[in-house]
Amino acid sequence: MSVLKRSSQLLVWLSVVVFLFVSMACNGGSGAGSGSLRLQGAGATFPNPLYQKWLSEYSKQHPELKIEYQSIGSGAGIKQLKEQTIDYGASDAPMTDADIKSAPGEIVHVPTVLGAVVITYNLQGITQPLRFSPEVIADIFLGKIKKWNDPKITADNPGVTLPASDITVVHRAEGSGTSAVFTDYLSKVSAEWKEKVGAGTSPSWPIGMGGKGNEGVTGQVKSTPNTIGYVELAYAVQNKLPVGQVKNASGVFITPSIDTVTAAAAASAANMPDDLRVSITNAAGPDAYPISSYTYVLLYKNQKDAAKGKALVNFLWWGIHDGESFAKDLQYAPLPADIVKRAEAKINSVTANGAALR
């Protein structure tokens, strides 16, 4: 009798487990199948706060849509887009030619907003913003300028008494779009940098130590005297970090701000190639902050699923128009008007089975 009881108890437990599994599976199934569209996106961490804002605002107007964005890093976003596990990707740097070639279909780059990389430092007793020439930044990060009172630094900063202490360089430890923009800039302004280090998300830094994330770099800079590092503009503004002025291609020292970043985009709008993949570091305009860059949403030009594709292009269209109004509050520079036009054309070029989606 007790044997029977035990085995029937086991049976009850088993059926409970099976029931739970089945009901969970059904839940998952019904969630996806209840008529609502679900778009998955992933990529760059830099525009994540803005994209999350876009998603929440857009979903208020379109409750039938479920659009998601995971900030897993530009590289991982590109990888997932190539593997077609997501509907759209996002990257700070445009995709490389090699990446584009190895993708299973043509990929469209839609610029969404702009960001900038700023120089921050920890020097006690110095209140006015320091000024940096491009070659000085390159030499500091190459390890050639070792002391804060180096004549090359003091030449740009008349009237500022700089300490005779060693410069400690802090850079991003992890692969990052911020590093890519910064090294892209240094490669443009310094032949030596280009040859020795080059540009990339994880370059091999000649000197210095790595902090993890903007917050890691900031933490190390804040807690260590005589350090210099670079972080995103938005992060520096929100945390009220001391920020250096950088001499641009027109020879003017520019304070990084949303306006000077948009100016950099406007100044280089004329050289924008057809695929919109462009680096705008070291832009030529007199107001242009030189270490600026676009951030992009990436999607396939030919969408497999017309309904999903239509929802996606509508969302992006809304983003580069209505969505831009959220950019400034979150310390992103909105696209200049001509670039919005170029981005519109890109969005309009997206098709599904040969038919235009907009």
């Binding site: 890093g73 590109i78 490389t96 091999s204 933490g219 260590t224």
Partner: protein, 327 residues
């Protein structure tokens, strides 16, 4: 009855094989548990296979030189694991050098000296250290430990011992020493908890015998330590396994620089940190596969270390029947 069971001989043999008691419920249960156990083995195997197959491009490209090359330059497509291997092992060894004396001291105090009303809360607090998330250790490292090391400890060491290469180099507060100290704090609760159980398992007769022969308390403790030595070694190696794989806290204070330096003050880099830092932005198949190969190396290192620890602990339990069973 016997005729029936002979008739269905094959069936009943099979029944008895999966369930000696001949009970259906037992058979089902036995089968389920077997499945769970095999699943665990399967997961480990699947991980090794996945790591190996994903790291194929890098294995093919670099072969053995991956382990000996000091260059890590993703921009130029050069990948070598040596600086990471060095940083991983060096930081773990520093951690053990600091934490082992502390851990054993804590264990001796808790088992041999402290009255119960002190031993309980102190033991609890030490174990609580293990529950603190590693990112919290990292933040504490950046804002508390690194400034202390930079302002007081490292200048002092440099002043007196700068003729030793270990204590030369630039003083920033971030580097191998800081990473090692953070790790030491993190592995101390693990090692001390196991050592405490090992010491507690040493039979009281050993202590009584030592004391009866006129040993002082210190001499008696030495007898206990010698008795528990294999178990203590096992505990240390378990701590080493933890130190080798720790990622977040170390990443935040070690300086993340893939370079081999013999100075404790210079930045270094560990395998786990490198993977965590670079994986998300790794574009290109070779880069990704080099990172996966780093993971494979770390997996093998920790696997060997843990296997070694298990062997030691097993050896102890077999010989003395209980000392070290907690490990």
């Amino acid at each position: 009855m016997s005729a029936v069971s002979e008739k269905f001989g094959a069936y009943s043999t099979w029944r008895r094989a999966i369930s000696p008691t001949g009970n259906t419920g037992d058979a089902v249960f036995r089968f389920l548990m077997l499945l769970v156990a095999l699943l665990m083995v399967g997961i480990v195997l699947a991980m090794v296979i996945a790591l190996a197959s994903e790291s194929m491009p890098s294995l093919r490209q670099f072969g053995f030189s991956f382990l000996t090359s000091r260059d890590w330059n993703p921009v130029k497509g050069e990948f070598g694991a040596l600086p990471f291997l060095w940083g991983t092992i060096a930081s773990s060894i520093i951690a053990l050098l600091i934490s082992v004396p502390f851990s054993i001291g804590i264990a001796i105090f808790l088992v041999e000296q402290a009255p119960r009303y002190i031993a309980r809360p102190v033991g609890f607090l030490v174990e609580l250290l293990a529950a603190i998330p590693s990112v919290v250790y990292g933040v504490w490292g950046i804002f508390v430990l690194a400034p202390i090391l930079r302002n007081y400890v490292e200048p002092g060491l440099a002043k007196w011992f700068s003729w030793i290469p270990l204590f030369s180099g630039s003083i920033t507060g971030y580097g191998l020493l800081t990473g090692g100290i953070i790790l030491a704090i993190m592995v101390t609760p693990i090692i001390s908890a196991v050592v405490r159980d090992v010491l507690a398992a040493v039979p009281g007769s050993q202590r009584e015998a030592a004391l009866a022969l006129g040993a002082t308390k210190w001499e008696m403790i030495r007898v206990v330590l010698v008795n528990g030595m294999p178990g203590i070694t096992g505990a240390v190696i378990l701590g080493l396994g933890r130190a080798l794989g720790e990622t977040m806290a170390v990443t935040m204070v070690i300086g993340n620089r893939p370079e081999i330096s013999f100075s404790l003050f210079e930045p270094s880099y560990t395998i786990a940190s490198a993977i965590a830092n670079e994986f998300t932005e790794a574009t290109g198949d070779l880069y990704l596969s080099a990172l996966v190969e780093l993971g494979l190396i770390l997996f093998l290192v920790t696997f060997v270390v843990n296997g070694f620890a298990r062997l030691l602990v097993w050896n102890v339990t077999r010989q003395t029947g209980g000392v070290g069973r907690a490990a």
